[in-house]
């Protein structure tokens, strides 16, 4: 028993464990030192946690686009960042028009609904066009081909929107009724962050329900299992794929509006960073898995938000905030080392991979 166990362990395994343990050690020491120094009030940690959950919710909705498309086509839609950008960058015009007419502050709920609907519609249309023009002709091409096409499509869309709306930065108006804080169970929480968290959870629940409990969701899962068999069972695979892209687009459009509630500045390049994070979240949770994307995104949002202050501040590292991306990606590396299929990931079998 001991002999076989010792034979299975290789030098690489030991190295990987050593790296993992070193990182965990740094995190633990940093955390203890930060907490001992007492630099931050407990309320600051609470604020950062809630902000992290809000950002995580946005990542989760963007990650849905990656994970749904991956589940069905086994391809990474790298142009999804532009699907995400297209919604809010278009809806900003409606938002500013509503703000100027005074309607936004008279009817905040209706206005936000209109803005969100526009954003969702634009993102969904862009996603469907993307599928029709860039991916469908290449469906049976080798797997690298659509990947490169996706990157090309991403640049094309970025610069199309730059041409349409200009390269400047545009700001969303502030909704007066969403300013300030609510007192929830004795805790002061920013209204915008609460709305974002609730909105993201609601949207995730709707998406999960569609995939799990509707007829078209069943068809999606069937296509994901086996395209040919699904086709033989009378499922129109093309329609299902278009629907999947549309669903990813709607989710990205909603994410865009939640995103601008937190960071109210839009420009043509805004999609890149949040989407790369959302992609990380999808891999973290197990790509192709809907609840996995949610868990991964929340975890990533939290780590990014409290990580720099909690892990690095106590170690006396200068400018910890600049290293938040490093924290996010180190977590990704750790997860990939110890659980290559992600937190909730399915064990990918040979036939599927």
């Amino acid at each position: 028993m001991l002999r076989t166990w010792r034979q299975r362990i290789t030098f690489t395994d030991i190295m990987i464990w050593a790296i993992g343990l070193a990182i965990v050690g740094v995190v633990v020491v940093g955390t203890i030192k930060t907490l001992q120094s007492g630099k931050y009030e407990p309320s600051v940690w609470l604020d950062l946690t809630i902000k992290g959950l809000a950002v995580g919710g946005v990542y989760a909705l963007i990650a849905m686009g990656y994970t749904l498309v991956y589940g069905i086509l086994r391809m990474i839609n790298f142009a999804h960042s532009e699907v995400f950008m297209s919604g809010p960058i278009t809806a900003v015009f409606l938002a500013n028009a509503l703000a100027q007419s005074g309607f936004l502050n008279k009817q905040p709920l209706l206005s936000m609904l209109l803005i969100t609907l526009l954003s969702m519609a634009v993102s969904a249309v862009v996603a469907m066009l993307l599928e029709r023009i860039a991916y469908r002709p290449l469906r049976y091409a080798p797997r690298l081909v659509p990947l490169i096409t996706a990157i090309g499509a991403s640049f094309f869309l970025q610069y199309t929107f730059r041409g349409l709306y200009g390269s400047g930065f545009k700001g969303y108006p502030t909704v007066t009724s969403l300013q300030g804080t609510w007192n929830i169970f004795g805790v002061e929480v920013f209204k915008t962050q609460t709305v974002v968290i609730i909105g993201a959870i609601l949207m995730m629940a709707i998406l999960y329900a569609i995939v799990q409990w509707t007829k078209i969701g069943k068809a999606m899962r069937a296509v994901s299992e086996d395209k040919e068999a699904a086709e033989l069972m009378g499922i129109n695979v093309d329609n299902i794929i278009v629907f999947t892209f549309a669903l990813g687009g709607v989710s990205a459009g909603a994410a865009g509006i939640l995103y601008i509630l937190l960071f109210p500045i839009v420009w043509f390049y805004m999609g890149f960073i949040p989407s790369i994070k959302a992609f990380t979240a999808a891999v973290l949770g197990g790509i192709g898995n809907v609840p996995g994307a949610f868990v991964g995104a929340m975890l990533l949002g939290l780590l990014e938000s409290i990580g720099p202050n909690l892990f690095l501040d106590g170690l006396g590292i200068l400018n910890p905030s600049q290293l938040k991306d490093a924290i996010a990606f180190i977590v990704l590396v750790l997860i990939l080392i110890f659980r290559p299929s992600g937190i909730l990931g399915e064990r990918i079998t040979e036939t599927k991979a």
Binding site: I265, S305, P308
Partner: protein, 404 residues
């Protein structure tokens, strides 16, 4: 046969005599230490730019290029009776962009002078190549102190600037904060760029000398959107002022998020010329109210006339702040070329590269739009007055508040 030799030799002697007595056509011999540019009778004088003319910071570079174009118009499109050819590369306001743009320009030996770069990070990457290529490089908007610091590794021969050195801007910002805003402690944020890092350092040094306290000097990533962790860190020091001489979008996001960070609701926010742009008003929305920036103070009849020309040519008021600096840079190059160029009878122009550099550095009492310019030995030519401005929501340009 003999006859032929005779005729030939007579012809040869005759031609030698004729050449000697005719109009003086001594072929130009280049004696310049780093070579000459020869411009044929009908060829244009090639001036290149390396500015950020695409991407998120493009208003900065396009504004400067517009200034150059107006300067060319004002010169009648000519330098020393040769047409001017203006082209260039995008520098992207980054070290990578400076590297690739600089490589392309350095390979073109017809270039006499380069106007650029827009950002100090670009300059750091591009200058080694542009300087070795023998060009005169004059920047309308680099402000990092080390670029013109004698003995510094980033100070290259042939580099000058019409933009102010941040030693001046940082000092003025500190004085403004201490005397006008009357704040006693401040925090600074930079974004890792050469410009922001040096500027906040100069500010911090001057502010401390005046008697103030710097609670923290921290940094964000230029692409960062969530500023909550850095703002929470700053809030623990309870500063009265946050000084962040960075760019958009990070600068705009700090303006918007500081208002909702507990402990920072009433903290005064201040940036520098990197945040002097109409985009700040659109990006920061209502939160822009009360935001201060420091920026060169441009006044005078000549400047007003320039703005009128800008308005006519481009259909809008200047979109950034370094248009007049670029105008002056072009005019200085023109004056220097006309001073050193050797003109042949057929109109061919010979410009010694070292001679041109010397002429540029010898610029003295040059009357430009940005003031009366005199270059020092390391290439600082600006004679700046820095003012402090305050933004009000929906209004651009911001209101000048200091000096009144």
């Amino acid at each position: 046969m003999k006859r032929l030799y005779f005729t030939l030799s007579v012809l040869m002697v005759a031609s030698m005599v004729l050449t000697a007595c005719g109009p003086k056509v001594i072929p130009f011999a280049c004696t310049d230490a780093i070579g000459c540019v020869d411009i044929g009778p009908t060829d244009p004088v090639h001036i290149a730019y390396l500015l950020v003319v695409a991407g998120p910071n493009e208003t900065l570079g396009i504004d400067s290029r517009n200034g150059i174009e107006i300067a060319i118009d004002d010169s009648g499109g000519k330098i020393a009776n040769h047409a001017v050819k203006l082209d260039g590369e995008d520098g992207g306001c980054s070290a990578e962009g400076g590297q690739s743009g600089g490589t392309k320009l350095a390979a073109d030996s017809t270039i006499v002078a380069v106007i650029g770069t827009s950002c100090s990070s670009e300059a750091r990457a591009a200058l080694p190549m542009l300087s070795t290529a023998g060009f005169v490089v004059i920047s309308p908007s680099n402000t990092a102190p080390d670029l013109t610091e004698a003995g510094n590794a980033n100070n290259y021969p042939g580099y000058l600037r019409t933009a102010h050195n941040d030693k001046i801007q940082g000092a003025v910002a500190a004085k403004f904060a201490w005397e006008f805003l009357k704040v006693k402690n401040a925090a600074t944020i930079h974004d890792g760029s050469l410009y922001a890092d040096k500027l906040q350092q100069v500010f911090a040094e001057n502010f401390t000398t005046l008697g103030g306290t710097i609670t923290v000097q921290t940094a964000v990533d230029p692409n960062q959107t969530d500023m909550s962790s850095v703002l929470a860190d700053i809030a623990t020091g309870q500063p009265e002022l946050i000084y962040f001489p960075i760019f958009l979008p990070a600068g705009g996001l700090i303006i918007r998020q500081a208002k909702t960070t507990p402990g920072l609701e009433n903290t005064v926010l201040m940036g520098a010329d990197g945040l002097f742009s109409p985009d700040v008003v659109t990006a920061a929305g209502d939160d822009v109210e009360g935001f201060y920036v420091s920026s060169p103070l441009l006044t005078g009849a000549a400047y007003d006339a320039f703005v009128a020309k800008y308005q006519t040519k481009f259909g809008k008021a200047p979109i950034s702040i370094f248009h007049a600096h670029a105008y002056d840079a072009f005019m200085m190059i023109k004056a220097a070329i006309e001073k050193v160029a050797v003109v042949d009878a057929d109109g061919t122009l010979h410009i010694g590269r070292q001679a041109l550099r010397d002429a540029m550095f010898a610029t003295k009492d040059f009357s430009g739009l940005t003031g009366v310019l005199t270059c020092n030995a390391t290439g600082d030519c600006a004679n700046p007055t820095i003012g402090a401005y305050q933004y009000h929501k929906g209004a651009y340009p911001p209101e000048l508040v200091w000096p009144k």
